[in-house]
């Protein structure tokens, strides 16, 4: 590894299939991995991880950007953190009411086959994460 990179700052890139959401410098990034939050500081070892629905935080000095990401993948390499996610919404734009409705819809989904259960669990987890974030930021 290049030792000089460890002192410099991180770069955070968030892309969804529809657009490139974010491309900024950061000091510290928290990724919502599938099994819990995961902090990345400059000079982190290369990593590929699966994301769960949750909150992505990007710290830039005093300011912290917060996003809701709906699963996907994260790649850490040479101080660049790339987040690939089907959906990324700024945390303050996650509205509580549709999130509650989503949870109700998710709970009402059929769960007769393993495949259906899988989809239902994913939808429930996503809706719960939305509710958590909307409560935190409103």
């Amino acid at each position: 590894m290049n030792p000089t990179t460890s002192t410099s700052s991180l770069k955070c890139v968030v892309v969804t299939p529809e657009k490139a959401v974010l491309d900024v410098k950061a000091e510290f990034i928290v990724l919502p991995l599938y099994d819990g939050e995961f902090g990345v500081l400059p000079g982190h070892a290369p990593l590929v991880g699966r994301l769960g629905p949750g909150e992505l935080r990007v710290k830039q000095g005093e300011k912290t950007l917060a996003y809701f990401v709906d699963g996907g993948f994260a790649q850490v390499r040479a101080n660049v953190v790339t987040v690939l996610t089907p959906r990324a919404i700024e945390a303050k734009d996650v509205a509580p009411i549709p999130s509650q409705q989503m949870l109700a819809d998710a709970l009402a989904m059929p769960a007769d086959t393993p495949r259906q259960r899988e989809l239902r669990d994913a939808a429930i987890a996503s809706a719960r994460a939305r509710i958590r974030i909307s409560e935190k930021y409103t």
């Binding site: 290369p46 990593l47 590929v48 690939l84 089907p86 086959t113 495949r115």
Partner: protein, 298 residues
């Protein structure tokens, strides 16, 4: 001798048509630009997914995923055709439908059962005309297909495929190569042929460009991530089909409207010429009459 008033009226009508087609051309141009921007934005995501897939398959080795396995016998085929909701776009719809019809004929000769799904009102009309039954029809994908909508569709297909209700998924659409070249194609999306579209740097520890391949940490294991990545790759592929179709539609519409505008301009020219000739003939005739009248009075 053509009536000059009729000619004037016709010229006015053609001028109005030219105005309309010209506006439609401009609208198609802006929509095309927007659609192309979206397609380029999606490109970044596709490229990243492909890169990840390369890195992962280097660590995880051969992957086996239900979506990647080719089935020995195809009992049921699903054909999704992407057409436009509206016409006035030249040969766009008919080219896609011709490809689709060819695939349908192939399936019929092979005696394979198939379901037909259609996006776009034009295609639905064609099916009614051909007497083909549609198992699903979508008209919500306009020139800005949303990823969430496409992902929903993709999830449905994955469920059908994994559950064994379909053995193959084909998509007929207009593939976008560059602004000057689009091509109607039928592509097999399921089973996914390859996850890794281009193995640029292969799996060697030292790549061709001299940089060493990165040794990643994986959370969870590389194989687990890959199995998550496969459905994602399929969703993106399907989304790309929709985006390509949207871009191609706008290009086709722009070209058709451009041709229409040019034709109208030419028509106006020829009508003007005819009108002037008629006017001239009228004047000459009147003059001749006056002179003849004056002669008679002498």
């Amino acid at each position: 001798m053509a009536n000059s008033r009729v000619l004037l009226k016709r010229r006015k009508a053609v001028r109005n048509i030219r105005k309309i087609t010209r506006t439609m051309e401009l609208i198609a141009t802006t929509r095309f630009k927007k659609a192309l921007d979206r397609a380029t934005e999606a490109e970044a995501y596709t490229r990243k997914i492909a890169e990840l897939a390369v890195d992962l398959s280097c660590s995880a080795g051969e992957v086996s995923h239900p979506l990647l396995e080719k089935r020995p016998t195809i009992r049921k085929n699903l054909l999704l055709v992407l057409t436009a909701n509206r016409g006035l776009c030249g040969g766009y719809n008919s080219n896609v439908l011709r490809e689709a019809a060819r695939r349908i004929a192939e399936l019929r000769t092979a005696n394979t059962e198939f379901d037909l799904e259609m996006s776009g009102k034009r295609g639905a009309t064609w099916c009614r005309f051909q007497g083909l039954a549609l198992s699903a029809f979508y008209d919500k994908f306009e020139d800005k297909p949303q990823f969430a909508q496409v992902a929903e569709l993709a999830t449905k297909y994955i469920t059908l495929y994994v559950g064994g209700q379909i053995d193959r998924l084909d998509v007929a659409y207009m593939k976008f190569h560059n602004p000057a070249r689009q091509e109607a194609v039928v592509e097999t999306l399921l089973p996914l042929s390859t996850l890794v579209t281009s193995t640029r740097h292969g799996c060697d520890p030292v790549a061709a460009d001299g940089t060493t391949a990165v040794d990643y940490e994986y959370a969870p294991s590389a194989a687990d991530i890959l199995s998550e990545l496969v459905p994602m790759a399929f969703q993106v592929r399907l989304f790309k089909c929709f985006l390509d179709a949207a871009v191609s539609e706008q290009i086709a519409r722009r070209i058709a409207m451009k041709a229409a505008t040019e034709n109208a301009a030419e028509l106006i020219k020829s009508i003007t010429r005819e009108y002037n000739r008629a006017r001239q003939a009228h004047i000459t005739k009147e003059l001749a009459e006056i002179i003849a009248g004056a002669e008679a009075l002498k």
